[in-house]
Symmetry: C2
Subunit: 285 residues, 2 copies
Amino acid sequence: MDAALPIVRTVPDLRRRLDAWRAEGQRIGLVPTMGALHEGHLSLIAQARARADRVIASLFVNPTQFAPGEDFEAYPRSEAQDAALLAGAGCDLLFAPTPDQIYPPGFSTTITVSGVSAPLEGENRPSHFSGVATVVAKLLIQARPDVAVFGEKDYQQLQVIKRLARDLDLPTRIIGAPTVRAPDGLALSSRNAYLTPPEREIAANLNRVLLNLARVLAQGEPVAAAEAEAAEALMSAGFDVLEYVQARHAEDLSRLGPGPIGAAPARVLAAVRLGKTRLIDNRAV
Amino acid sequence: MDAALPIVRTVPDLRRRLDAWRAEGQRIGLVPTMGALHEGHLSLIAQARARADRVIASLFVNPTQFAPGEDFEAYPRSEAQDAALLAGAGCDLLFAPTPDQIYPPGFSTTITVSGVSAPLEGENRPSHFSGVATVVAKLLIQARPDVAVFGEKDYQQLQVIKRLARDLDLPTRIIGAPTVRAPDGLALSSRNAYLTPPEREIAANLNRVLLNLARVLAQGEPVAAAEAEAAEALMSAGFDVLEYVQARHAEDLSRLGPGPIGAAPARVLAAVRLGKTRLIDNRAV
């Protein structure tokens, strides 16, 4: 049995702990989460452990990154179980702030990252990325870690955060960690818990279609044709709504195509809806 | 003759210097400026000296806080003279970054502070305060000073920056320093250099009208009537355009009135145009 994980709930308490570690010369790694932890999150803790002497996780279900009508209220919350999983994975400290530590009375500040946050998720989830950028900037300023690890599952978010950290001179290295997948290829996600058994079977096709799209693009198939085939394949597989399936520049997420992708580093990304669940995934080309 | 002031032009050089001071336990004060220094700025250096062991000034004429059509190109630039004045005032280091240290290629991030930045200057200078908030957040993150000093001359800016620092958990105490005035009461400003001699005489009435407005409000005159009299007095004094003259809540700059101000902490603020020059000033009630 793992020892209980220390939990701090205020910024002053967090900074006191971290300052003590820094005074000992220890490098600090941060893994921001919204809880409902699974193997994907625990792999981020492992990535942080490999790059830092002390690892902290944060747990805050951030209301401002849910658009109106999304699942903020329903989002799964399980702090005690999350803390036990983190302790087992080698996490040293959990920062689970009370809401007023993130949004004090009169809070009025919003951070937006233009460009990379505009397409894809930016089009389909209004205000999502300004919610993400604002809360992540706050966590990075509150904790001032040497490294922070984010999953490639939320690939566009990762690029937004890399841009944010560069633009604001945050002294934290942003690390992207590979997506952890179920045996059939479905990317692990807290929202997979919403899927019914038949939906869960359909869901595995999201990864398969993206892998195939990446393969045919690498073979030189024109972008426009390959995207159209992938869209057709997703709808045939039984997804209810296709929000997007596209090839994009891997770093700034600018549009590619319509011809062959050539030498540009590329990423294929998709978002679909299945019943009441929204799923996203992506693959390197 | 004062020794030459050390100047650094990159963020890594700045952080190297400051980290060395911090390692010695020295408290750091920052005075952000756009150069064209006068006695008002030097009083900010003195305020920082009183609260810190080492004082740095920054000099960056920030293009994003000038609205289209404003005086960014014409803004006075005099780095060598500024450096000599700073050295004489007891400043230890000048951070005069090259533009790419503030806005690197691909820069995409904007910080906005709603509420306090909306009225007054916010209405009359579109995008001004998001330019200010973004560059000030960057400077505070780059330098991580213990205190930063801003003039009360730009009173609304000071309140925006206080809100910004609180909201982003920046570990810097924001200090407001009293406005330095010419013998006739005109607030010192780099833009006073634009005034012709006859305009310079008219300009002194801005302070006089604000002092009188603060006095009659303190005596219980209703806000609406007192503001109307002040507006009349400014136009009679010879200003060409009155942008605003208002009483506001001293902290969040929310509207007061139309009756007597009562016990709320209040500030009176005005902006006028005189020839090609825009002047602002404010007074406590």
